[in-house]
Symmetry: C2
Subunit: 132 residues, 2 copies
């Protein structure tokens, strides 16, 4: 897979990949104007989106699609440069599904399917919450 990231101005950059959907990135630091998400934020969104897609697809296959679904991605970063993400906790929150199905889907995603999880060096953990 190939992605191209081009500089626009200040600290604003635009990424384009195979799907042809452009994504703006920016920062508030080093002269940026904060016109888009920061790269580390985008990486955490990619992690959340990857595993969330697994969970929703698996819950649908189990014939227990959620009424609503979200995942919180909480990252701990090193204090010193390069401030790598060391630990990430994922909280899977689903509405109207059996707890055991959500647990099983979360395990399958983390152990077998999620490409982004398996491309990160951070220590990952997760918990699940079911709501009515």
């Amino acid at each position: 897979m190939e992605v191209r990231v081009s500089w626009h101005e200040g600290m604003r950059f635009v990424g384009i990949g195979p799907s042809k959907h452009a994504v703006v990135m920016d920062t508030d630091a080093v002269g940026g104007e904060g016109t888009g998400p920061r790269p580390v934020e985008l990486m955490l969104m990619a992690l959340g989106g990857c595993t969330a897609m697994d969970i929703v697809a698996i819950l649908k296959k189990m014939r227990t699609p959620p009424q609503r679904f979200e995942v919180l991605v909480q990252a701990e970063r090193a204090a010193e440069h390069p401030k790598a993400v060391r630990k990430v906790h994922l909280t899977y929150r689903a509405w109207g599904v059996p707890m055991e199905n959500l647990e099983r889907a979360a395990q399958l995603s983390q152990e077998r399917y999620c490409s982004v999880s398996h491309s990160l060096s951070a220590e990952l953990s997760f918990s699940v919450e079911v709501r009515d």
Copy 2:
């Protein structure tokens, strides 16, 4: 840092982080409509954006800002699930800067500054190109 990714419909998800810039993610697979970048694509954009910000900031500090700058991010993924990204090659391409400054900036980003590079498990390599 905390990010929330919420399911909308189909395989469309929206991520929100501290910068408050929403990012859509989608896929063409498992019932998705391809309305946004895929998570792995977004992760590679995050990598490219992170290191590109370093490079432009460092070149500015060296008083040799580029006329134009882009980075190509080429990733090799495992064939089997979870299809992790195993190798990434970054090609830094700058217009109107001394080659040695671009090389030095690329080294500094990869060795010391780029948070996303240091948060990935993939083997990273890079090359530099200067154009007039």
